[in-house]
Amino acid sequence: MSIKIFLSDSIAVAENEFRQFRRNRSAILISLVVLPFFFTAALGAGQGGAGSTYSPTARIPIAWVDNDNSLASVRLWQTLATSPDFRNLVEGYTEQGALAQLGTKRIYAVIVVPKGFQNDLESGNQARILLYTDDSEPGMSDQIESTLTSYTQNFDPNVEVQPYLSQLQRQSVAGVGIVTKGATFAGFNIGLTTVLAIVQIFAGFYEIAGGMSREREEGTYARLLVSPVPIGSIMLGKTLFDILLSVIRTFTVLGLSVYGYGARPNTDILTLLALSLIIALVTMGIGFVVAALKMGQRAVVIIEFFLILFLFAFSGLIIDSNLLVGVSQVISYLLPFTYAFDALKRTVLLGRPLLSLTYDLEYMIGSIIASYVIAFVLLHFSRERLIR
């Protein structure tokens, strides 16, 4: 079979999907209107819209260790603690005790005011404060340091922040360091990352797994199988059509989030679209694997329920995957959606370029390839449901 025929078959399958979709008003309504609008509106209402303050450091637990116990150090503490950017300064630790907490996920940074701080300031010398961070979250140390520096500079230009990175950065697993950690972000930005992923996963999975199981039940899949069309063309055709729907959904969610709920993503539209489509492809791959297991439509709905449950529990959607322990964390690291959420947050919230997220991208693309290969093999070697 030539590539030309393979592609022509794929396009014919995609066109066929489109023709059927066009005639199915409820599918159009649910897939392109209800799902994106419902999730965006629901999260938008819950998370507040435009006007929220942006602070990636506000809720991060940071230990405050005052070894100087002077008027100047207390004033600095007051300046920071009453600011919108350091709402979670934790007192009561000794320096050793606070440093020992780094990496335990109770404390992510330690600010130490050394002895002699006030004397240095009074004598016009440069006064240092020390900042220790675990840096398990790439970019977060820089955020804390720069925010802290801006406050100390306003407090007294002679105050210098001396940063120290903990050894813990080497222990963190690259690519799975969900960025929230108590940070707050502008407007609907976190909501946008959640909605983009959930909408693609919800719709993409059912469109592939549910669609294939419906075709099996109605006998149209068997119609394709008795024709010379290869399995690969069927998979590619369905994928092409679903990519089209995913693009429409991405723009719907993005439009509503930006214009309706004041999201201000720190990335460009192409990055968002690319990530959104990668998530859709990860989902479609899993959908094909489920479809290859020859389940009925009811079973597909149940599996989708569990898939979403897994997402909420283990993918860093609600709980930072770094906060999970034991088996939960292993599951979290295995799920490709964990990397998807991580990549979305790093781009939308922190403005990291997509191509810098190599580990996330590698894992997701690897998942796509693996799931498509597994689905292809399963579909190829058991062409039809075994009917007695």
């Binding site: 149209t220 199988l225 008795v226 024709s227 010379p228 062409r383």
Partner: protein, 328 residues
Amino acid sequence: MPEHAIVTQALTKNFGHFTAVDALNVSVAKGELFGLLGPNGAGKTTTVRMLCTLIEPTLGTANIVGYDIREQAAEVRRQIGVVSEGVSLYKDLSIEENLKLLSTLYEIPRPKAEVRIRELMDMFAFREKSGRLVGALSSGWAKKAMICAALLHSPQVLFLDEVTSGLDPQSAIGLQDFTKKQCEQGVTVIWTTHYMGEPEKICDRIGIMFAGRLVQVGTPDELKHSVSELSVVEVETPGLSQGQLEKLKARLKEMRQVYRVKYVDPKLEVSCERTDTLAEEVASTLLGIGARIRAINTKDPTLEETFIALTGGEEEIDRFLESGGQKA
């Protein structure tokens, strides 16, 4: 070009411990209309599904117009057309849209496909309904649409699996005539059914399947004569009660092997192992249980009666059907 359109060699399909098709050996000539006859669960549809490359045989193999179903499945699919309950058209598309999709998948050049689609639309008087969605068609028209789809690429072998079920008698007869014409044009047809009357009327040869095995193959006449030890009497005996019928069965069974006793007031049909005295035995038994006899005569067995005799009798078939297709 091979002499035979279909040749199977020990074709077997197991589902776990259950053998749906058991070492099927059959050859079907080019242009032949071959009937596969058997009750539900006999293995007909599984056989067709293996030949259509929808399911993989457990053992054995088959050739369709020279192509091996295991090794050259894609080529086999180009040579066959399938009409089966499990193989449907897209309900949300019109018949014309369905045919256009299939013409692309069968790599028929567009101008040629358009001509062929028009030809089929005319043949089945579909012109006025060409734009109507398949889901909105009546079952008869939907079946015709499926036949159109199966014929689109001018296949050399056509599988018609239980194709007349759900059709009105007129449409069924029309379809039978159409199928015969296809065979005259060189198309080989496999016609599977559990309606006993159908293959007798139209098929060149019939294979009787039961419990996954091909019990007998031959022309309708050959099959009827193959059961030389079968005797059938037909009695007109009005008002026979259930009790009388049971007594009749019990007494006849004491004398010989009875394949079937069928009673639809006033007609009673008894088929059993061959004997010259069956009419006398039935008459005397009936009179003995107080039944009235208006007429009695012996007759040649029908294909249905032959089928029942070949498969071990009506009770054996009942046991088979009750067991969900597993031979007792």
